[in-house]
Symmetry: C2
Subunit: 314 residues, 2 copies
Amino acid sequence: MDRNGEVSIALGLRSAEAASEWRSQLQQALPQARIVDDAPDAPAADYAVLWRPQAGFFSRQPRLSAVFAAGAGVDWLLADTSLPAGLPVFRIEDGGMAEQMAAYCVHEVLRRHYRVDRYEAQQREAQWREWPYLSPAGCTVGVFGLGKMGEPIARALASLGFSVRGYARSARALEGVECFDESHGLERFLSGCQMLVLAAPLTPATRDRFDATRLACLPRGAWLINVARGELVREEALLAALDAGHLAGASLDVFRTEPLPPDHRLWRHPSVRITPHVAAITVIAESARQVATRVLQLRAGQTPSGLVDRGRAY
Amino acid sequence: MDRNGEVSIALGLRSAEAASEWRSQLQQALPQARIVDDAPDAPAADYAVLWRPQAGFFSRQPRLSAVFAAGAGVDWLLADTSLPAGLPVFRIEDGGMAEQMAAYCVHEVLRRHYRVDRYEAQQREAQWREWPYLSPAGCTVGVFGLGKMGEPIARALASLGFSVRGYARSARALEGVECFDESHGLERFLSGCQMLVLAAPLTPATRDRFDATRLACLPRGAWLINVARGELVREEALLAALDAGHLAGASLDVFRTEPLPPDHRLWRHPSVRITPHVAAITVIAESARQVATRVLQLRAGQTPSGLVDRGRAY
């Protein structure tokens, strides 16, 4: 903070478009702030808003007292070896993202359960044929991760009549959702999921968790939806389970390599639906308001919510 | 009712499959009932379960004291000139159908709002491209008809963050839904709907209501979803509005002629999504339980719910 009470916030964002939008929204939410772009000669700022910044960001900004990740996941930031130890990291909490993610999952679950693909195929043949009713209560959808993203997904699916079960590290109670945790075992949770939504952060505990063994725990014909991080799933194991017909299909928004390389098999697999990491787009206006609120709280000596626990990695 | 207290129920259903399922479910729900099929020599029954029965049904069943329509809409039954005046008509109330219909509408609205079709097209080209975020709160979805079907549709859409307005004949209050009625005028209601869901019964007041003039009240680029009855919409006017680009597209589950003839232009219109009247399939088990409950109420001299007011036609 400089002499006249001004606060400065550095932007370390991947795209120039996003930086421009963040600059304008932050300025609106916090008119007294000085917003500085990432540059070799940038003045030392008090705070930073980050999304996969250019290498060397932290050496160019040595006086930060806290940083804000411009998204819900912070795996990329905690994996950055140049992140100073002890520097408080905050993540966006919801900020309009949970709503989008729930909408994405609801769409994919409804599409699968109500056999929309079949009706689309019939339309191409001008074929009028009704398929028998299947009750959503008879379809169990599992949500892996019951945090800020997983919980609204579970609630939205339950409100549409699906039988929903959720898995969290530690015991949870959520109305209308059968809750599982480590004491029950992931395998038992998975064995009842006709559809499975991955909505947990990427941490050492979730990385590669969905390998051939875990995918085999799902019942035959299950459908996987991944809106979390590509690294939760072993892609070769997923492709093998799809090829073998053990999984009926998958809706994937996240991948181990993004953008997904054009020649990647997943793009053209007939049972895979692909979106380019858009299930939850950061709503910059709302996120900037969150950053502004937290900056004011920090300056007033309060502890804002959204502080990342580096030990558990989210 | 015959001497030993037995009750008999005649089935007048269109398909043999449905008749067989109704027979088995009714027998289970009401073990003391005698279920009779529609036939020239069928014994005279006390009640009937009907779905577009064969011509002459009512002359073959002259002693009915009430009939149950095996679905939510009763337009086909009230249009039957052989239906005896004064014979009480009951309709299935919900019976699992509203849940399905809400799911259908939610799917189509999410698909349109979140530009699922674009991402599908991009997948075919292995193209990784994100489209900007559009807030669901910035999208107004109108629901025409706020009855047993319309209300759950409006609620489900509101819970996903959409701005929802509803239109009913008479004034309604629904939390989270901006309610319009005849005093506001249909045109004013329509002028703000980026998507419009038709969920009203077919009555003399709703037949042909969505003609060229009313469709023109929708803003340019609107999307129509019809889960009510085909007769609410003038199909030539709809096709003209689609061809002119005034409407961006339509999701249609119901048609003026069903099955939709294979050579009908709607099947192959690039902006039209077609399903074969499956947005709400009658859940026979649940509907049979409703009929059983009502038969027992009628025999006990009570008035069950679901009685159709022939004057208003639903």
